[in-house]
């Protein structure tokens, strides 16, 4: 219901190529690449056997605790558990952490020993790539994996923060997109992917990561046509058109 100024380009309705996958996710294309948008909020690039997750914000709980707000200290293990479930299901050759993997620069030092061990376990036998985000610009100190500012894969550019303006072929995170859908029976707010088939923004994967409504001005100008939200439901990803989305 916010001001319509943040609406990308006003154009006629556009039929996107979306198909439901057996896992409950949605199959689509981003640029020339085949993409599977998973219920967990992860992106699966099957041709490359590559799993992409954004904005894990590990140790967000302890960041708050340090300031006197004792959020449950289980966000890291919960996030890693969800990642482990995806890795178990898909056996990726490459796992890409698309930035803001840690909540702040001191997160790694607060990591519990068993959580650190779990992360090492996930990296074993595959390539782990840490794309740098604004919260964790230094990359990991003691944990395994390669560090990159951005990388190119299957004709796609993977980076943390979406570049302003149109950037065909870009896959990013950073904005924590969330969709709010309203119907006669009430409203629902869910994390979502958002895409115009040219670029894709991933939802935050972290257990405690909040969401920013895709109708927010931060998304303005990023899409060539009204984008489509793929909202994370219960065991399913729902494709929701721009017209059905409302502000907070």
């Amino acid at each position: 219901m916010s001001a319509p100024s943040s609406s990308p380009v006003a154009s006629a309705s556009f039929a996107y190529g979306f198909a439901a996958a057996d896992c409950g996710g949605l199959r689509t294309r981003v640029g020339a690449a085949e993409a599977l948008l998973r219920c967990s909020g992860a992106l699966w690039l099957a041709a490359e056997r590559c799993l992409v997750v954004a904005d894990l914000h590990l140790e967000k709980g302890s960041a708050y605790a340090a300031r006197g707000q004792m959020l449950p200290p289980y966000d890291t293990r919960e996030t890693l558990r969800r990642l482990a479930v995806e890795i178990e299901a898909l056996t990726p050759a490459t796992v890409i952490l698309l930035g803001d993997t840690f909540h702040d620069r001191r997160s790694e030092s607060r990591l519990a020993a068993d959580d650190a061990e779990a992360l090492r376990g996930l990296a074993r036998g595959r390539t782990l790539i840490w794309v740098i985000g604004n919260h964790d610009a230094d990359g990991p100190r003691a944990l395994p994996g390669e560090v990159a500012d951005e990388l190119t894969l299957a004709g796609l550019t993977l980076r943390h923060e979406p570049r302003a303006g149109l950037n065909p072929g870009e896959v990013s995170g950073h904005l924590h997109p969330a969709a709010r859908v309203k119907a006669t029976r009430g409203a629902v707010r869910r994390r979502c992917f958002i895409t115009d088939a040219e670029r894709l923004i991933l939802p935050a994967f972290g257990a405690y990561a909040g969401g920013l409504n895709v109708r927010d001005a931060a998304f303005a100008g990023l899409f060539a046509r009204p984008p489509l939200a793929a909202a994370l439901g219960f065991g399913r990803v729902h494709a929701v058109g721009w017209r059905s989305l409302v502000g907070d």
């Binding site: 309705s13 302890s62 006197g68 959020l71 289980y74 924590h176 009430g186 494709a239």
Partner: protein, 876 residues
């Protein structure tokens, strides 16, 4: 006023006696009894109907004490603390109290302190307190969390708790009881005085407010007085006391005083004496039998509005009570449509801007208004002389609330209050009739005593640490001296302290981040000043839903003048461009930005009325029972209007009318659906829980349930397959409250909502204050739902999950009531297999499609609907 038979001279100093005489009054017997109790150093609760000089009775002992003190050159600090459940009431009492103080020239300072009090006045009050401070439970909690609280309260002689019946059975009551226990430590001489309107069970209130000083701190000389004999004597006197309820002569001033046991104060536990004021005149209550037909369903009473207007025209000043804000807006709109005489009719509810409410209250006090349409905001206290009629639109839901509301009419004891019930539908007609009879018999429904909540205790423990270092065992004993916490287990207390310190997690990651720390002296103290300051910003046991400001839209999408506030959930039902009624006018919704709802005036437009405008109060157990009885008692039907009577007769002939201890269950087919409708009369909450659990069982039984709908009286479930062959005894077996309940509850949105409330009260997450939110950019606040999900998976026995479960089970899903109902109907389900729907089933079937359906299933439905839109868009 009536003459008193009690010799006043001994109790009332000349200055006071002269003042009474100069007003042409005599002190009332219960006022003198309160002075006498104070002289004896006793805690006391005064139960008297509105208009009985109750507030003055509470203050007289303090005023006399203050007036008789020898002059002193040094300030002597706080003498009397007055606690009101409402800010407005504290301010009102300040005004009413300062009148006699000025007239008698007592030179006593009495000041209010609420969230609305200016900062400079509040600061001055901390440094130099008035002799009488009038405030709210939240401000008291704040004062207790300040450094120096001990000194601030050390000379306190008396605490007066007003409208105590509205406070005790809630988390606010828990917090207040804890703060009383706290200041009792600082001020050993402090007496407790409770003031209450008519209540069902004074023992519950007495137990709540008493000092239950634990045995650990009682000296041997005192202990024998705690023994059996005195306790027995209390019971004996209470029995005589309740007999005075039956004294028919309302004018006769014979207060009864029932002493509690007589242990001396200081450390030991005490009991509270009961003082009863005179019973007021019997209220005259009528049910409006409309010329128009009583509707089958609905909550607006639109059919009777012309008659309501007519009644207003014939009375001096009427209060028109409704149960929700939307009903208030609707009724106000309807009355003005009919208002040919341009009578001054106003609107008053909690969403209106404070300034606007004050205006209405002032006009009311000046006697300028003929009617005010209002919600529970006017249930309490504020004294407005001239109201001569109370109109209740739609059902009252409980007899006690209704007595309170009726008491708003006529603040003079010798004249009866007059009230008219206006039922909005057929079942409500039965309910209004039952309520009328319950009030005539003076049968009230009361709140059961409650066990103090642990999230509130967590907040209190933190507050204690913020004011001064504490010893763990001493604090445990202090906490147990508060009524709601007298049975608190040491293990629970330890868990709460661990939670306050580090969050209480099995994973000990946070030891270095403790909020409170144990020093080398063995005392616990707050980590640093900043932590204490943050705590003080979050004090209080009221968690309000997110509220948006309603503002007139200006150019450029900015918000202009503020009209009032509205809960987030209400505005969700509207789309930009749609019209709605607010603050008595029709507005068009322009949009929502951050915390503002932007609107434009749309005079003359036809407003959209939300369909879910039912009552937020559940039908009380007691009233439900009376409705079931009335329904069975066929000769009694003659008190009902013809169309309602015909409806009952049709039900009797086409289906059946169950006995009062039975539950009727009907099955029939309609369209392609199979229906099961049952009528437990246990209120919407209990019904919704029952429906959730039934659908799980029907799913397992292969019936293929598709949906359900509930109201206060009935619930309907529809399914693919017929359900008339099911074993209903098994379906409604009490064992559904075991695993089925737990499995459903853990996933339900109600647990998440309860968890959020507990997390805020306990200090796990901080309150969000308007303006603090990030305006733009990535949202960094976290959602409590995410925390709930994570905590449930990784530490399901955590303290706050326990708190949330208790809250959900009592407040949100009413498990206790459902349990009682299942046990009541065991073996008493009357099944009626029908060809067609029955007359009783019509109201509930009319509600299908009007309810919101929260939870996973509801959310999935909304998302699927949006997907269908997309498909339609793509194909179109």
């Amino acid at each position: 006023m009536a003459d008193s038979a009690v010799p006043a001279a001994d109790l009332l100093p000349p200055r006071f006696a002269d003042w009474f005489a100069s007003r042409g009054w005599s002190p009332r017997a219960h006022q003198l009894a309160m002075i006498e109790r104070a002289r004896a150093g006793r805690d006391a609760v005064l139960i008297a109907p509105t208009g009985g000089g109750k507030t003055l009775a509470g203050f007289l002992p303090s005023l006399i004490d203050l007036a008789e003190r020898s002059p002193s050159n040094t300030p002597r600090g706080l003498h009397t603390l007055y606690i009101s459940p409402l800010k407005a009431l504290a301010v009102d009492v300040e005004r009413n109290l300062n009148t006699p103080i000025a007239q008698m020239g007592l030179g006593v300072t009495a000041e209010s302190r609420t969230g609305d009090t200016g900062i400079s006045r509040r600061q001055r009050q901390r440094v130099k307190p008035p002799e009488i401070l009038l405030t709210t439970p939240e401000q008291l909690a704040l004062l207790c969390a300040w450094e120096g609280a001990r000194l601030y309260f050390e000379n306190l002689e008396c605490v007066i708790l007003d409208e105590i019946h509205t406070l005790h059975a809630s988390k606010r009551g828990d917090l207040l009881a804890l703060d009383l226990a706290r200041i009792a430590q600082f001020a050993p001489r402090m007496r407790r005085v409770g003031l209450s309107a008519t209540v069902d069970d004074p023992e519950v209130i007495k137990a709540w407010m008493a000092n239950h000083g634990s045995v650990d701190v009682i000296g041997p000389a005192v202990a024998p007085l705690q023994g059996e004999p005195s306790a027995r004597r209390t019971e004996g006197v209470s029995a005589t006391d309740s007999a005075t309820d039956d004294i028919p002569n309302a004018g006769e001033e014979t207060p009864s005083v029932a002493p509690g046991d007589t242990s001396p104060r200081g450390g030991g536990s005490s009991t509270v004496d009961l003082v009863r004021g005179p019973a007021g005149a019997e209220p005259i209550v009528e049910v409006l039998l409309s010329e128009g037909r009583v509707p089958w369903a609905g909550h607006t009473a639109q059919h009777a509005m012309a008659e309501v207007y007519d009644v207003i025209r014939k009375s001096r000043t009427a209060l028109v009570f409704v149960n929700t804000r939307f009903q208030a807006e609707f009724a106000f709109q309807e009355l003005w449509r009919l208002n040919e005489d341009a009578l001054p009719i106003a609107l008053h509810h909690g969403s209106l801007a404070a300034e606007q409410r004050r205006k209405v209250e002032a006009a009311m006090a000046r006697g300028e208004l003929r009617a005010v349409v209002c919600t529970s905001t006017l249930d309490l206290g504020i004294d407005w002389g001239d109201v001569d009629l109370v109109i209740q639109l739609a059902s009252p839901k409980g007899a006690s609330r209704m007595v309170q509301r009726i008491g708003r009419a006529n603040h003079r004891l010798d004249e009866p209050s007059r009230a008219i019930f206006v039922p909005a539908n057929r079942f409500e007609m039965l309910e209004c009739q039952a309520a009328r009879e319950a009030i005539a018999e003076n049968k009230l429904d009361g709140d059961p005593p409650r066990v103090g909540a642990l999230d509130v205790l967590a907040q209190h423990v933190m507050g204690c640490a913020c004011s001064e270092p504490f010893d763990l065992l001493a604090l445990y004993n202090e906490v147990r001296s508060a009524g709601p916490y007298r049975d608190l287990a040491w293990e629970d207390f330890e868990q709460v302290v661990d939670f306050v310190s580090t969050g209480g997690y099995a994973l000990k990651n946070y030891d270095k981040f403790r909020r409170i720390v144990k020093g080398q002296d063995g005392l616990w103290r707050v980590r640093n000043a900043e932590t204490a300051q943050r705590h003080r910003l979050n004090v209080g046991a009221i968690v309000s839903p997110a509220v948006l400001a309603v503002r007139i839209a200006m150019r450029g999408g900015r918000g202009g003048r503020k009209i009032g506030e509205i809960e987030e959930g209400m505005i969700e039902m509207l789309e930009p461009g749609e019209t709605f009624v607010f603050a008595g006018q029709v507005w068009r919704l322009v949009g929502v930005t951050n915390l503002d709802v932007l609107v434009q005036a749309a005079p003359g437009a036809d407003p959209k009325m939300p369909s879910w405008g039912g009552s937020k109060f559940a039908l009380s157990t007691y009233l439900a029972q009376r409705v079931r009885q009335l329904m069975t008692d066929q000769p009694h039907w003659q008190v009902l209007p013809a169309d309602v009577r015909e409806w009952l007769e049709a039900q009797r002939d086409r289906s059946l009318i169950p006995e009062p201890d039975e539950m009727l269950l009907e099955t029939f087919a309609r369209g392609h659906r199979q229906f099961m409708v049952c009528y437990p009369f246990e209120g919407r909450l209990a019904h919704t829980t029952l429906a959730m659990l039934l659908t799980r069982r029907l799913e397992r039984a292969g019936a293929g349930p598709l949906g359900f709908v509930c109201n206060d009286y009935a619930l309907a479930v529809w399914a693919v397959k017929p359900m008339d062959g099911l074993d209903f005894g098994e379906l409604f077996d009490e064992d559904m409250l075991g695993d089925d309940l737990e499995a459903w509850l853990a996933d339900s949105f109600m647990m998440k909502r309860a968890f959020k409330g507990c997390a805020i009260i306990a200090g796990l997450i901080e309150r969000r204050f308007p303006g603090q939110e990030q305006k733009t950019g990535r949202q960094i606040t976290f959602s409590t739902d995410l925390i709930y999900d994570t905590l449930r998976r990784h530490q399901p026995d955590h303290l706050l999950l326990r708190c949330a479960r208790d809250d959900a089970a009592t407040g949100l899903v009413d498990v206790a009531r459902l349990g009682q109902m299942l046990s009541r109907i065991k073996g008493r389900i009357r099944h009626s297999a029908l060809e067609h729907l029955s007359p009783f089933s019509v109201p509930i079937l009319l509600e299908i499609g009007k309810e919101r359906s929260p939870g996973h299933a509801g959310e999935t439905m909304i998302l699927r609907e949006a997907e269908d839109d997309l498909i339609a868009e793509a194909l179109g």
